[in-house]
């Protein structure tokens, strides 16, 4: 193992995974530093779940190497499983048991003594505001209670790496802050967190580093600020009345583009340096060309824009910047 990888909580290189129908991962690479929160972002079907299932030893990769805490997931699965925790859709709790029964059972299976398992279960129920409802069956829990119990189940043995999937979906703002605080608290305690989500806001709030996943591979990575900077300061967004005009528009407004122009879903996005002159210039040029527009606006990028730019279905290559 290269010396550098000892400092990494997760090191995945060239991971391929193909299901019967289609490839789920096609050259997936990921490096996560110890003690950081890493956001893995991607739309449904991008391969997030497959990637996490491989990193947590639930699934074998077809190709590539994955190390978690320095251990190979394929050959040293037991060592990996001792050091990880799973929260969210990756692993369920037992609906027919109470919250306390679940936590005690999973604590016992994680090698805690009967006494320690009970104490740990009570401690976590208390911490997540479930002490009162601990003896109720999970199937009677509200969505928020269920989320908090999921989180507790992932934290039973203070994992070195915690895999968290969309931890705040369906939570009210107060519940969301509570979960975020819990995750931040863990990181202060030295835990590495891999957060997968479709929600950029969540990644923006929590993650030190973000990897964007599209069609089975990481298409961009960096801090939230770096990713936003990559897109440029502002966008000129043009929506033609006829989608077929998009390519012609891109040619016409190319002189104002500060970076590569992208076309996605009938919208032309032009990174621009100067808001006013590019807006006026592009508007005049398109009027002269006689192309009818449905919308024309200047926008400031969010992580959403970065995401759409990097994962959009259609990009216009070769337009001079």
């Amino acid at each position: 193992m290269p010396e550098r990888e000892k400092d990494l909580a997760i090191a995945a290189h060239g991971v391929h995974k193909k299901y019967a129908s289609a490839p789920a991962l096609a050259g997936f690479d990921l490096e996560v530093a110890r003690g950081s929160v890493h956001g893995l972002l991607g739309p449904n079907g991008a391969g997030k779940t497959t990637a996490v299932r491989i990193m947590t030893t639930l699934l074998d990769a077809d190709e590539g190497s994955v190390r978690v805490c320095g251990f190979d997931v394929a050959r040293e699965g037991r060592q990996v499983r001792r050091r990880i925790g799973l929260v969210g859709q990756y692993a369920a709790v037992d609906e027919e048991l109470s919250g306390r029964q679940n936590l005690v059972m999973f604590a016992r299976l994680s090698r805690l003594s009967p006494r320690a398992a009970k104490a740990r279960a009570d401690e976590l129920l208390e911490r997540f505001g479930l002490a009162e409802t601990g003896s109720k069956r999970i199937s009677a829990y509200s969505g928020g209670m269920r989320r908090r119990l999921d989180l507790a189940a992932g934290l039973l043995v203070a994992p070195e790496v915690l895999f968290v999937d969309e931890p705040t979906t369906g939570l009210d703002p107060a519940g969301r802050r509570e979960v975020w605080d819990a995750v931040r608290g863990l990181v202060r305690g030295g835990t590495t967190v891999l957060l997968t989500t479709q929600y950029l806001e969540e990644a923006d709030q929590l993650a030190d580093q973000i990897s964007m996943l599209a069609r089975g591979r990481v298409v961009a990575g960096g801090t939230p600020a770096e990713l936003k900077a990559r897109v440029g300061d502002d966008w000129l967004e043009l929506v033609p009345r006829a989608e077929s005009d998009a390519a012609r528009i891109a040619q016409i407004v190319a002189p104002w583009a500060g970076a590569e122009i992208h076309i996605a879903h009938g919208r032309v996005r032009v990174p621009v340096a100067d808001r006013t002159s590019s807006l006026l210039g592009a508007a005049a040029a398109l009027r002269d060309a006689g192309i009818p527009l449905a919308d024309l606006a200047i926008r400031t990028p969010t992580l959403d824009e970065v995401f759409i730019q990097l994962t959009g279905e259609s990009t216009l290559q070769g337009v001079p910047a």
Partner: protein, 271 residues
Amino acid sequence: MTTYSDSLADRFRWTISDTLTITRRELQHWRNRPGVLAFNWLFPVLMMAMFTGLLGGAIDVATEGSYVDFVMPGVFAMTMFFGLEGTMLAVSTDAASGVTDRFRSLPMSGLAVVAGRCVADMVNSVIGLAVVVMAGLLFGWRPDASGPAIAAAFALLLLLRFAVLWIGVFLGLKTKNKEAVSAVQVIVWPLLFLSSVFVDTATMPGWLGTIAAANPLSATATATRDLFGNPSLGGGSWFAENAFALAVAMPVLLVIVFLPLSAFTYRHLRR
């Protein structure tokens, strides 16, 4: 912080401990849902009452004696056979809901997941068997045999349960939706009636009777009838003559096929 050791002795100790934890989980399920459990235990009694009460009068003629003495060993075999659905439903629900994945993400013994299920299901079936035996005694069923023969009869019944347990684990791992479970719940009925559980296979059309006699359920029903000293009929057929040997061999064969298949399927959840 927990300390870990990988010595063989420790792993054995933890496998036992994990098996007990998983078994306890099943017992907690029972305690949380006593209604479902009671229904499963009483259903064979309902079947028995139906057959002896409603149909027994008509069948008595053929058995030249008490239908209840004929049918009870069959009902015991049926009770064991019905355990298939319970095992399959539990395994399938765990696989579909993600509980199996939770177990697989823990540093626990993989063997314990199935071993715990096995212990809990066997305990469940022993209780179910005790319930239907007591009901049979109330209805007038009497074994006419020595203690060791009766013990051997119960051993054969539990062997059948052990065999269908592995079919249930295999099917449960293969089918992750409720529809497939429902399909199996339907298929068990023709399998049940195409046997010597309720009637003598000699009364069926020849070819059908042969198929029914070859059913593992028939072997266990006929062999336990012999051991309990109850009328077994169906005399003469090769299957009836060798019922005891078949009642041992067929479940053992099922275990030899389905236990490795289950282990293989569990491991290949990783594929």
